[in-house]
Every structure is written in C-alpha cells, then in structure tokens.
C-alpha cells in the first residue's frame, strides 16, 4: 500500500489485450506462426466443427417442427471447439447455451444432446429447462439460463480444486452481453484476488440479441477489461480455430499453474439469437453477408484443402456422414416416451419434505380427476 507510488502496466500484457491474435486469416492463408499441431488434431477440430454445424441445423429443424422448445444457433462460433479441445476430462467446463461444439468435444453424443433437447424419458436433466446441456459424467455443468450466473461458479469451483490440491482447472464460456452483469464483475474480481485456476472464454459475437457491442460497453476491448481485474488476457480472432486452440493451450497451462486467464474470442453470430428471435428487425442482411466471409469452417476448410489435409469432396462426405447420423438419432429420440408426469417433484430437495408430499397427493388426485372427467389439460 502506498500513497505515493505510480503503478506500471506491463506493455506486453496491454499489447495482447488490445491486439488481435490470429494464425489463419479469412481466406485460409497463414498469417501467424503456425503451431506444431498434428494432423489428427486438425482433423478432430474440423470434425467437431462440422458436427456442431450439422447438429445446429437439425435442432433448428426440430424446433420448427415444434419438437424442441427453443434453440440458440451457434453458426459462426464453431471455433469455440478449439478452446475446449486441450482440456483434460477431469477439468470442469461451464458452457454457455450456444456451445454445441463444446458439448461434443466434452464427449456428449448427438444422441444425448437430442434426448436433452427433446426432454424425452432419457433426458438427464429431467425436463428442467430448455436450451441447456451438460452432464456430470463429462464434468460439464448445465448452464443457468440467467446470463452470466455460471461465471462465479466456475471461479468458486476452481478455488475448491486448488484448495483440495487437485491439478484440474475450470473453463467458463459466456457472451459479450454477459460482461455487463454483476456475475461477470464478481467472477473476474474473485479470480484476480484469489488467483483461481480458471480460463474465461468470452464469446464476443458482437451482439446480445439486438444490442450491439458498442451499446453493451465502451471498454476498449473486453480483454482490456480483464486486465482491470488483474487477470491476464488475450484478444483472439475467434473464427480461427487454430488460434483458439493455441491460445487455449497457453491459457490452460497458465491456469494449471494457478493463475486465471481470460480469452476474448472475437467472433460473429451468423444466425438469429434464438429460434424466437427475428434479427431482421435490428441488423442488416448486408452485415451478415459481409461477415459470412469470416466464418470459421470456411477458412479451416480452405486451409486444409489447400494444404492437402482434405481431398476434393471429402468435406461434403464428412458433412453427409454426420447429417445421416443425426437424422437417425433424431428419429430415435423422437420415438422415446416423455418423462413421467410427476417428474417435477423430483430433485427439489435431497430429502423428502412434507410440503411436497402433501402437494403430491393433491397432484395425483388431480390426475385421477382428469381421467374421470375426461379433461385434457396437456
């Protein structure tokens, strides 16, 4: 504590927080130092991104069919898979609702995702909420729908890991809109103060529903905001999956050493906010067209084709393979019966409490009456 001193800012940190790290540009050209990643990783990343896009399309279709309550498209943001790929299974992920690729990288199958989306009998979240995904067996915590709530959780869980002497870390995803919430503020601040092993990934897709970034914050960059909590950060071209992957490796390494790290993933939401949204009200087709050029799959494909990782037609084959897979999975998931009628009395408390036992009695009585009187409620 000093009343006299001045405080120096590390210019390198400032540079990373305000520059833009990229390796493959929008035309698939290498513009940064290409990291030494194996062919397999590159193919994996491609496959995950394609799977995410295919699944996205299917969820949109199922929503239009009235089978899925709501879906938040992730088209354009598939390079998030690069951030998750280097994690260990024991690490914990707190995803956002727009993270199909994340769920897949963590090991969730299309089948499991569909059971969830359709909240059928096999829904592990027992019909609790829409558009959220996760599972204990993948160490992926289903996200709360209130934007940003998961951020302090990820910090607290990381503290617990450190406290327990584990060498695991947590990673948490959220949007640019989430940075305005108290949860973001508290989460970043606690991470800075307690030096928790947490990697923050802000998927800055330029929009929070209809609110553009400049209406969300006048921060020079979101990565700069992170510095103001004493959390190191980087601003990355979030449509460049290789840059995301490389960044994540460094971030995860730093977190595992017990220092938080913040990734601003600069990307763009190509689709609507959710299936309930109508973006034509607030942004131009022309903007979206312009941004399509930057989208992550296009450039990875270009790069891989030009560098001989993909032969002609192979991309389409892969795409078709996953498409067929999801089609079959969707058919099966749709055929499964619904959850039991009294499912919502489960998992409110660990122990039985009389209040709910009494209410259950009334509930079963009401089911009886429905039958008796031939009432259709649902």
């Amino acid at each position: 504590m000093s009343l006299l001193g001045r405080v120096d800012i590390d210019p390198e940190k400032l540079e990373r927080a305000t520059g833009l790290y990229r390796i493959i540009d929008e035309e698939g050209r290498v513009v940064g130092e290409f990291p030494d990643i194996g062919d397999e990783v590159l193919r994996d990343l491609l496959h995950y991104m394609i799977r995410a896009r295919v699944l996205d399309e299917w969820l949109l279709r199922l929503q239009r069919m009235g089978k899925v309550a709501i879906h938040a498209p992730n088209k354009g943001q598939e390079a998030i898979v690069g951030a998750v790929y280097p994690l260990r299974p024991e690490d914990w992920v707190f995803p956002s609702y727009r993270d199909l690729g994340v769920y897949l990288v963590r090991g969730m199958t299309e089948e499991e995702i569909l059971d969830r989306a359709l909240y059928n009998r096999d829904d592990p979240l027992r019909g609790s909420d829409f558009a959220i995904y996760g599972h204990r067996k993948y160490n992926m915590i289903p996200t709360p729908v209130p934007v940003g709530n998961q951020i302090p959780h990820a910090v607290g869980a990381a503290y617990a890991m450190k406290y327990r002497g584990l060498d695991t870390i947590t990673m948490v995803m959220f949007g640019d809109g989430a940075t305005s919430r108290g949860d973001f503020h508290a989460g970043l601040n606690f991470a800075g103060v307690f030096k928790t092993p947490t990697v923050f990934v802000c998927e800055n897709n330029q929009w929070a529903i209809s609110v553009p970034l400049k209406r969300q914050t006048r921060a020079p960059t979101i990565a700069f905001r992170a510095l103001s909590y004493g959390v190191d950060s980087i601003r990355v071209d979030g449509n460049d999956v290789v840059a995301m992957y490389k960044t994540a490796i460094d971030a995860i390494t730093q977190a595992r050493r017990g220092e938080p790290f913040f990734i601003e993933m600069v990307t763009y939401r190509l689709g609507s906010h959710t299936t309930a949204d109508d973006p034509s009200r607030y942004r131009s087709e022309e903007e979206v067209k312009r941004m399509e050029r930057y989208e992550p799959l296009r450039r990875l494909r270009k790069y891989m084709e030009e560098h001989g990782y993909l032969r002609e037609g192979e991309y389409d084959e892969i795409y078709k393979m996953y498409y067929d897979h999801v089609e079959k999975a969707a058919r099966e998931a749709l055929e499964k019966p619904p959850l039991p009628e009294d499912v919502f009395f489960e998992n409110v408390y660990g122990d039985k409490i009389w209040v709910l036992e009494l209410e259950k009695e009334e509930f079963y009585e009401s089911l009886g009456i429905m039958k008796e009187l031939g009432l259709e409620v649902e």
Partner: protein, 325 residues
Amino acid sequence: MPVMNMVQALNTALREEMERDDSVVVLGEDVGRRGGVFLVTEGLIDIFGEERVIDTPLTELGIVGFAIGMALNGLRPVAEIQFIDFVYEAFDQIVSNAAKIRFRTGGMYNVPLVIRSPCCGGIKGGMHHSQSPESYFIHTAGLYTVMPSGPYDAKGLLKSSIRLDDPVIFLEPKSIYRTVKEEVPEEDYTIELGKAKKVLEGGDVTVVTWGAMVHMVKSAAGLLKDKLGAEIEVIDLRTLFPFDKDMIVESLEKTGRLVVVHEAPKTLGLGAEIAAFIAEHHPELLYGPIIRVTGYDTPFPLAHEKLYMPNIARLYLAVKKVLEY
C-alpha cells in the same frame, strides 16, 4: 372501438403516456429496434427516438438502478425486465432503494418508476421463462404490484401505474399476450389501483385469482356448475398489493366459501395472505376451509407445465372440497 390484444393495448398505453408527458421514458434490453422480445415496445423508438426508448446493457441491476436515478431527477421511467425471472439481479435496487427511498429521505424524494415484465407460465418456457414471483414484491413495503388479465385492464392499469408517484411492479402474463382480445377505447382512461373486478357472479363459491388464471377459472365455470352444481363468483384481483379486500369480503358474505387460484408456488404465495387476512379479520364469514390452487413448491418445470400449473382438474377438486365441508 378497436379490438386489441394485450401487447397492442400495452403498446398503446406506452405511446399515449409518452405523448402526454415528456418525462416518460422506456428502457430495457432490446426495447428499441427489436421492440422488446414480445414487441410491447414495438415502434416506439421510431416515434420517440433512442434517447427516450433506451436499449441498455445486459444487467437488470443496472436497468433498475439507472431508472431509479432517472426517477429521482424528474423522469418517469418505464423499465422493462425481459422476463421477470431475470429481475433478481435487480432485487437489491428494488427492495433497498425503489421501495425505500421515500421512507429513507423522509419523503423528500420519491421514485415514480414502473418495472414492467412478462411473467407466468404456459408457453413452455421452463425454469427461467415462466415464473410468477409476485410474492417477493408484495412482501416488500413501498411497492405496488399489478397484474392485468386482459387488454382493457392492461391499458388502464399501465397508465395509472405510470402516473403514480411510487414504484409499481407491473406483471404481464405472457401466455395471454396475444390470445385474449377485447375492445379497447382509443381515448385516455385509467383504472384505479387497488380495485379488483368481478368477472363472474355466483352465489356458492368465491374464487379469487388474477392474470392468466382468470381465464382458466372462467372456462371452468360451466363444468363446475354441471358436475358440482356450484356457481362460482370470480374476482380478478388486478392489483395484487394493496389488494381489494373489500370486494373479497363482500363476496364471502354471500358465498361463505373461498378458493384462491394463482400460478406462484403455494408457500407464501399471495393466496396465503388472502387466507390469513380472512382468518384474522373475518373468520365468521367462512363455512369451511380456504383452499389454494397454486403452482407447486418446486421450480417451474419445462416438462408437463400444464400439469404443474393450476388447471381445471385442480380447481374442480378445490371447489368440491369447499362445498363438501
């Protein structure tokens, strides 16, 4: 008279109040170009500009805290919370400030603020797009809480709320935003806060309810008459705090039987206060038990929401019980 749905009626009320009084401003997430996710503020930005129809950053605490500051300095902000389920970040600002500034400052400052928000279930919204959290506000001294059940009331009540010098939590049952249509006068009119509306006359059982449940209850009247021979008298509370005790008491003088229906979870839902009020001040009016048909004491589920919510079967059971006692 034009026929409107509730979204149109609310939109009209906002527009008219903004035309009447420069100090009325609208703010919230996506209320501008987007017109709100339910389009209640649609078109206002074109008429009044973005200084008066303000898209805010994504923080309910910020929306309400900022709006309180506006209200202190002479404006009459109407703040939209995109879904009432997201209001909790703002709870401190509502409970510690909006509700208490008049008291804290010895009456030197007051907060003419309306917080309006879609509420309640019925659209497969799951845990965080379906809640009915009115109890939190009703328990907080210093606030008014209002919930209309149709377009006519929506317009009149919103206007009264905007003109009031105290904060109002204005809850809009989203499931009936577009399903209920009514004639709505083009003229200016207001509806006094604190007054309920009798929506069905009947001599056997008083059913007190509000919001979308008004329609569920009304739709059950025929069945209840047929199967139980009971004529229900239905009171739409409209203002939840301070609620219209007089209309309830008057009806009970006739029926002697009370059922309260609301979507909020039972424990300390407003039904509890209504029952306790009668049990405290008018026990002599009752023949038997006061039955509450309510949301269960669980989070609001995505699966089987229609079974979770008060429904005709559950109302039937309740009416049967008060009759049989």
